[in-house]
Symmetry: C2
Subunit: 309 residues, 2 copies
């Protein structure tokens, strides 16, 4: 007997990932490609390459604010072009299957709940820690269908302006973009650091991985940068613990590669700040599905949600 | 035909309110008394005074962190004594009816959803603005059964220590306690203010009402105090809008008496900070049930929840 599959799409600011996902949540085939140019064409081509008669539908997770009622992207700061396209309609029209849309971090939270680190938790908050910071909340094993813009929670009311218009957003202190921009600003002052060696002298090409490697080799600046960002992440984690009393905080995204310094510092800071009765009940752990979480969660929508009208 | 009623209890740090509530959410009788001394005795006496054969159960909202599974109060910063008493068991034992427990701000959110300002909203966040700041989230017309300690969200990561252990909590900037403590600190420096007249020269007896009245009469210091607190409340409101994308923010508690200055400033600040696509969809409005919200919401539990095992 042939099982249904779903096409899951994870459309982030940097990459487009499309996969064929089984009813058990396994990724059977997958294509990853940059999302920078001709994005609509790329999506249609990639889905065409993977589409099969067994596809029960298409789920798409998009970095941005989603209008669930109309199935549209309201704003996508790193991918403005999708604000102009009614992605759901275009995909429905072309592939003649039901199409579902979610925020990308929300989709990742569903993915982790289904087959990842959230499998055994009733109630968790996912933080996606990359260039920016996103979030998703699972409550009673259902996605809380809210914006969950955790990265745009102000943790410094009078702090620096964020690109979103708010001041002192968590993302401005604890994201990869924030770490890199601090690194560059400090290196421009000619401060001594191993980091110079890791980027061949071009400080504008430094990556978060360079900073973590330099930190592991004892570079003082790199350790400071990661610890400082981690401390602010801890403030954000404590806020979510105090407000959502989750069973778990699940951390996803490229920055969790720096677990030993950045995340450990965050956990230490959160432990000092959150209500101890709540902190004592929460597990803080890494996501398991890496960059498949979003497309797996998007595919889940196909098997579990009513189609948009 | 005689309708069932429920006994609703609202146990705050200052007052105990007990009421008889109909199945339609109307308060039929009510007793209010200080919660400062002999609290267990007071609760039992007050409930006895109001108890009738038609009482289908007792609901109790308590200022503090609630363990819903065991029906216990984990911590209650302003009412430590109830941490030692298994209130649910004591009430069940004495009155032989089902007993339900919730956090007091959560109960108030249910009350406002049922018969108050939240009647027509699917999804709102209630802020209780009094001595401290509490919160409750209604999502799809159900209480989100989480801690919702909005007042203990840090909005100033490196700000002053809060009594909860965190730094820079919203409550430390935007609550009545915060406003009064700033007022006293400034008046101690002998700064000129109408406030002196309102408290008969004893600055340690100033109330939030005094500050609002002086502000309305043009007192510069009082206006500054309320606007400053309101601005921080706006940061907290913007954070909740960005994270929860509600249809409404409902503001309750004594401080909403200062709507024209404190709340208006909060709305102005939130409008500058929240994602404009989300802010444009949210109504910000006062609660309607005043100090009955908590006991009405607690009574609702009786009509709508399964009893604790």
């Amino acid at each position: 007997m042939s099982e249904n599959v779903a096409i899951g799409i994870d459309l982030g600011g940097t990459n487009l990932r499309v996969g064929v996902v089984s009813e058990a949540g396994q990724v059977m085939r997958r294509i990853k490609t940059p999302s920078s140019e001709n994005i609509l064409e790329r999506i249609l081509d990639t889905v065409s390459d993977l589409f099969t008669k067994k596809a029960a539908g298409i789920g798409i997770g998009v970095a941005g604010l989603i209008d669930r009622i109309n199935g549209k992207v309201l704003i996508s700061p790193n991918l403005h072009v999708v604000e102009e396209i009614h992605l759901v309609e275009v995909l429905k029209e072309k592939f003649k299957v039901p199409v579902f849309i979610e925020n990308d971090a929300n989709a990742a939270a569903i993915g982790e709940m289904w087959t990842g680190a959230g499998r055994t938790y009733e109630h968790f908050v996912l933080f996606t820690l990359g260039t920016g910071i996103g979030g998703g909340v699972i409550h009673n094993r259902r996605l809380l269908d809210v914006s969950a813009e955790i990265g745009h929670m102000s943790i410094n009311a009078d702090g620096e302006k964020c690109h979103c218009g708010n001041n002192g957003c968590l993302e401005s202190y604890a994201s990869a973009r924030a770490i890199l921009s601090s690194a560059v600003a400090i290196l421009e002052t000619k401060r001594e650091s191993l980091l110079g060696d890791f980027c061949g002298g071009n400080i504008y090409k430094i990556t978060p991985e360079d900073i973590y490697k330099a930190a592991l080799e004892g570079d003082v600046l790199s350790r400071e940068l990661l610890k400082n960002a981690g401390r602010y992440l801890g403030v954000g984690i404590a806020n979510m613990i105090n407000m959502m009393s989750p069973d778990a905080i699940i951390l996803a995204g490229g920055l969790i590669g720096a677990w030993e310094i950045y995340v450990q510092e965050a956990i230490r800071e959160a432990s000092k700040r959150a209500f101890k009765e709540l902190f004592g009940r929460v597990d803080i752990l890494p996501a398991e599905l890496a960059d498949n979480a979003g497309l797996i969660g998007s595919a889940w929508l196909v098997f579990n949600r009513q189609a948009h009208a």
